[in-house]
């Protein structure tokens, strides 16, 4: 029930400019009808506004195109076949206004006009509206959840000049069990209430690193330090080490044997993946001594 009232609230609150698609593909009135076939096919669209400068001249749809074909398909300009009487909305109209009009009109694609300039500034479909509503609801729901469960508030409650949470994990076992350590870390970070994107990135870093340790060194350890501004992860092993640290950062470079590849790993994407997920990454390795990977995920600015 609360969800429905929230939706009702939103349809009155949100304006079309908040939900409309801004970069709209349009065609010019002077284009030939026959050019539309390729446009509709390659762009997978079923219609496009016809623009004269930034002024809306009409709309040409796939129905217009089919009608033109069945009438013989004699070459002519789009402006002769487009629908000129087009229903439009203003960008400052509310969603509820648009939804009611859509219901009555029986079709679902409306150009949006800027009230000040009179030019077309976007297009709206039922899909856009629904997507925007869902996004709003999801954000709301997510904020609600964070408020309720966020254990990371712990930092705000602790009185100290510096506070840090430290988790330690031992990495060992068969490669087929890789992921147990990262799974534990993921659950922990989730429980602390971090943004899902932060949790996911940290989990992927841990998982790739854990897999690397199990493949190359058999065992190692992972230390995760959670601070108010960042999650710092250090994964160490006493394995054979990496002869050329730059080389292993290249996507696709791999030293993995077949049995590793059979498990879906060893494609040479591990370290590049880690780098992609972290805000800072440092890889140190000495041949014969071992490898140490440090990765940091910034938690001040969720993406």
């Amino acid at each position: 029930m609360t969800e429905v009232t929230k939706v009702q609230e939103l349809v009155y609150e949100l304006k079309l400019r908040d939900v409309m698609k801004k970069d709209v593909f349009s065609v010019a009135p002077g284009m030939q009808m026959s050019e539309l076939r390729e446009i509709f096919r390659t762009r997978r669209i079923s219609g496009a506004p016809v623009l004269d400068g930034d002024r809306l001249a009409g709309i040409i749809s796939i129905e217009d195109f089919i009608r033109w074909l069945s009438d013989g398909g004699k070459e002519c300009r789009i402006s002769e076949k487009m629908s000129k009487r087009v229903e439009t909305f203003y960008s400052d109209d509310t969603l509820v206004h648009a939804l009611n009009k859509m219901e009555a009109a029986g079709f679902g694609r409306f150009p949006i006009i800027d009230r000040q300039t009179g030019g077309m500034c976007g297009i709206v479909t039922k899909g856009n509206i629904i997507e925007a509503l869902l996004k709003e609801l999801e954000i709301d729901f997510h904020e609600e959840e964070i408020r309720r469960y966020r254990a990371s508030h712990i930092f705000e409650d602790i009185r100290a000049d510096k506070s840090t949470l430290i988790f330690q994990y031992r990495i060992a076992g068969e490669l087929s069990e890789a992921g147990t350590t990262s799974s534990g870390l993921k659950t922990t970070l989730k429980r602390l209430g971090f943004h899902p994107d932060i949790v996911r990135r940290s989990a992927i870093i841990a998982y790739e690193a854990e897999t690397n340790v199990l493949i190359n060194a058999k065992e190692g350890k992972m230390v995760v330090r959670v601070e108010p501004a960042e999650i710092y992860m250090k994964i160490e092993d006493k394995g054979p080490g990496i002869p050329d640290v730059e080389k292993v950062m290249e996507p696709g470079f791999s030293t993995a044997p077949d049995w590793v590849r059979e498990l879906g790993f060893g494609a040479g994407m591990g370290l590049p993946n880690i780098k992609k997920c972290s805000d800072k990454m440092v890889l140190n390795s000495t041949v014969g001594k071992g490898t140490c990977l440090e990765a940091t995920v910034d938690i001040r600015q969720p993406q």
Binding site: V4, G179, Y207
Partner: protein, 126 residues
């Protein structure tokens, strides 16, 4: 009402997916997942690098690393292609993590093609 309409418009549920792929539900009959994106790969590192939250993963790999990878990257549903069935320990891990598992006889290419045709999007690289 509006929210229900919304889901129908932009998402597909597991039942719809099984219909399109002529797939069996190996586990997760009772679980409800809405699918908006699809990833297809046998390389788990690829999955980790490009998949999106809640996506359906099509794969030919049937060991428990697939579940782990799905767990780390928040994959919503896994479907095995070419008639492969999950190994026993994988099935157990899937149940433990609450990830629905499907199996289809279709090849990877055919499965991708059918879903794409029905309007399901891939997970864009970034």
């Amino acid at each position: 009402m509006l929210t229900r309409l919304a889901w129908q418009l932009i998402n597909m549920d597991i039942k719809e997916i099984t219909r399109i792929l002529e797939a069996d539900i190996v586990y997760g009959e009772a679980l409800n997942r809405e699918i908006t994106k699809v990833a297809a790969a046998d390389l788990m590192s690829d999955v980790l690098s490009f998949s999106k939250e809640g996506a359906l993963l099509l794969t030919g790999l049937t060991n428990s690393q697939v579940i782990r990878t799905a767990e780390m990257s928040d994959i919503g549903v896994i479907c095995f292609v070419r008639g492969k069935k999950p190994q026993k320990n994988m099935l157990e891990l899937g149940k433990e993590r609450g990830i629905p598992l499907l199996a289809t006889k279709l090849s990877m290419y055919e499965a991708c093609g059918r879903l794409y045709q029905k309007g399901l999007q891939g997970c864009e690289c970034n």
